[in-house]
Subunit: 507 residues, 2 copies
């Protein structure tokens, strides 16, 4: 085995540093793999939500970078001592917050290989395998989702791996914007209108800000509990009509399958029908729930996607692929390319000129891009379609179990119907009847549930986050961490009950 | 050691898949580390530029994802057989194309740890260590670059890790745009003007397109060989004055330290002085050359940065940190936050409300973000400032050696002064005197050098790319691959000479 001290490389460097010595790479690589294997072994023991205070790390670190090298063993000791306590353990089986960030061995190893090759895949030429594997895997995945063939390369469309949904929305919004401005003239940029519901992820608002959409023309159309917080075609049409009457130009709708707050589903078929009438680009954001749509029994949530322009979901959420990996498909890649391509001399090459290849730099915001498809390919091959389906079903079943436990305690209620593996629940306002003269039952429930959630999270035993849906403060229990088993769900429910008991007694 | 077949997890999943089993993680992790160690050992043997034809991979892959799991050993065999031939080997010591993508053991391991933890660090709360380490490391690095304290957290500014320079430019451009529109009114968005030189990276044009800047108001100010392809303050001022006379509003300048084509340097001090007069935001893009500015003898290239608004360089180019890792500093973080922040209910938390923490989601385009600072921290600690400096100097020295070799062959010429570790050279037009009646000497030289470069790259022995600078086709020899030693540079020169000899004889 080599070491940093061995053999002096002939690079005119008077030191002895060999930053890519294969044997030293091997030695240190094995150390870090063991470190992480032990981390997974112990992850259940750590408080799920980090318990450090703001500024904790500054106190433990020097003010400037070290002058001299430090050994990997010492660095790993510091990772354990200083970094791990500041981590919120998204890989813990007791992690039920936000949406999952479901790691897996295959997803991890795909990222490791990609990092090892460390190629910069901006165009086909810069590493053909990176582009070609991406196109192949996106067609595979499109078929698993039963996407209409117009979204696949084999059908004239195509898929691309973005980092996140924010990028997917921004890219498609810019494509739609430029298409529209070409028709109506650039002087009308301030009259373009972007639509979502009041449940749509903030990524849409941010993308609109970045793309230069007039903030006054951003519509978060109201939803109601009666419609399960889905955007109705009627409300959408009404908003459009009002905008047109004001002389504005409807541009873009982001419809969501599985909203962040409550996993609500916007009805694609009627929404796309309305959008088509007015020439509006529809992007379907299934960031979280897209994974579940590889299940035949859940595929109906995507019905209508055949009339959308673009579709995306995050394999890094609930599909065993590590961050970041947002899968996006478009029917008309040329719309993306027209809006996002640049072709400077220093990137010109025979393959691009031949038009026989995809240059993904023109499908995204950045030029440089990592070899992301490797990890997705390894997830698909290591687990196989059948097991991936079973695995997703196991999470949905666990969420159903949790729902069942809630149902047996009449103090609690499930606030919205569960569509996937996320349960929104709370202690019912009925528990507060007669106790509060000044605040309403609803307000009392909201305050209590917020306090309850904070005490639960402070315990470090489990971690959930909240949402406010239709004015109701709810706790979100999102099953999806890879290590979660049914025993963790049962334990989580006990933790909730215990904290509720204690807080109800003391209040 | 466990295996996929061992122990049935209690997650209601009838299969036997355990995608994060620690012992299976350990076993497979070690296999992949060994795979990569062997890759580095052998990387010199592969043709540097991939030699596959468009569509090669489709022929080797099935049309859809496998139904059943496949073992890691088989997948790795396919990586070796099908993927490696389609890779252009950026880690090869014979890679001199574009700019380097310099991997290192420390950078690799930092990414591996980050992938293993797989946290989603959008705000402080979601994993405090990710935010805090980033702020600390950005201050460390800012000090190494001798950035004015206004760019550091300790001085009221701050640093953030973007993915790429494209994102850095887009974020700062949007911040500048919104600041300006607040003053002059949104109705003037089509009158905003963005400035760069004809040498500025295409990232600026793309960012302007995305941010909704009128394409007619994108200025690529001409540079000349006499000014070493730097943007002069005079030309900049002239362009501004003409725009103002046309009723436009000057907005943003991207000045470059080390352009992509020829590593030209825009003179920051005079450019910032002009920009200040007209209230123009100056972003300094030192994507490639920023690394070299940690050398005291190169720091003068950054003189004047104290009057810029923002600064970025890519640690993933020439700083031993794997893709992606763009280090960006701003003097006024609030300008970024105003333009890029959203704060939906489901992300609200005590720490953010307290205003004691940085929420990096408001400093960038996307919400989700990886734990990028780990790799930069590990690079700084594993190698130390002194060795990093020596290492960069070794590359500069090797580039100088290459320049010396060129100087000894009078058929060749170095086309622009070498500022860093990239040499732009060609066979001189003088070699073609008298041979060509129809095309000029210059055209003949351009055609010949293009043909020469293609034959060199086709040989697979080394890989260089080209640029056209002031109408002259040049070969770019960028030293910076981590494994490159002086013997590779000497060999590369022999390869160039041999191909030149052969082509000159046959033509």
């Amino acid at each position: 085995m080599g070491s940093l001290q061995n053999q002096k490389p002939d690079n005119g460097f008077s030191g002895t540093m060999k930053p890519l010595d294969p044997e030293e790479f091997r030695r240190q690589g094995h150390l870090v793999i063991d470190f992480l294997a032990d981390y997974y072994k112990n992850v259940e023991k750590y408080p799920v939500r980090s318990q450090v205070e703001p500024g904790y790390l500054k106190k433990r670190m020097p003010d400037s970078a070290p002058h001299d090298p430090e050994p990997i063993e010492e660095i790993l000791r510091d990772v354990q001592k200083d970094i791990v306590p500041g981590i919120t353990h998204w890989q813990s089986p007791n992690y039920f917050a936000y949406f999952p960030s479901s790691g897996s061995i295959a997803g991890f190893l795909g990222e490791v290989l990609s990092t090892g090759f460390n190629i910069v895949g901006f165009n086909w030429m810069s590493s053909p395998a990176a582009t070609e594997l991406e196109s192949i895997v996106m067609d595979w995945l499109g078929k698993m989702l039963d996407l209409p063939s117009e979204f696949l390369f084999s059908g004239g469309g195509g898929g691309v791996l973005q980092g996140t949904t924010c990028e997917a929305i921004l890219c498609t919004l810019v494509a739609a914007r430029d298409q529209m401005l070409k028709k109506i003239g650039r002087e009308n940029i301030n009259k373009l209108v972007v639509y979502g519901s009041d449940q749509t992820h903030s990524a849409l608002q941010k993308a609109a800000q970045i793309a230069g959409i007039n903030p006054q023309n951003f519509r978060a159309v109201a939803t109601t509990k009666a419609d399960a917080f889905g955007l109705t075609a009627e409300a959408f049409r009404e908003t459009i009509e009002s905008d047109i009457a004001s002389g504005l130009f409807p541009l873009f709708l982001c419809a969501t399958i599985g909203t962040t707050s409550s996993t609500a589903v916007d009805p694609l078929s009627p929404l796309c029908a309305v959008a088509e009438e007015y020439g509006i680009w529809v992007h379907v954001d299934a960031a979280y729930a897209g994974s579940a749509c590889i299940l035949p029994e859940h595929r109906h949530f995507l019905n209508g996607v055949e009339n959308a322009h673009s579709f995306s979901f995050n394999a890094h959420k609930w599909f065993l692929t590590t961050l970041d990996c947002c899968c996006m498909w478009v029917k008309d890649p040329s719309a993306l390319v027209k809006a996002l391509s640049t072709y400077p001399e220093y990137l010109r090459n025979k393959a691009s000129e031949s038009k026989q290849v995809v240059d993904y730099k023109d499908w995204q915001i950045t030029l440089s891009r990592r070899f992301r498809s490797l990890k997705l390919w390894m997830v698909l091959r290591s687990y196989g379609v059948a097991n991936l389906r079973k695995f997703l079903r196991s999470h949905i079943k666990m969420a159903k179990n949790f729902e069942g436990l809630i149902g047996m305690d009449k103090r609690f209620e499930v606030v919205v119907p569960r569509n996937f593996a996320t349960v929104c629940f709370r202690i019912s306002p009925l528990e507060f009847s007669g106790n509060h003269q000044i605040v309403s039952k609803e307000d009392a429930a909201n305050n209590f549930n917020a306090k309850l959630l904070e005490t639960i999270n402070e315990s470090g035993k489990i971690y959930m986050t909240h949402a406010i849906i239709g004015g109701e403060y709810v706790m979100r229990f999102a099953v999806g961490a890879t290590l979660t088993e049914n025993r963790h769900v049962i334990l989580a429910w006990k933790v909730v009950q215990e904290h509720a008991n204690a807080l109800l007694t003391s209040s």
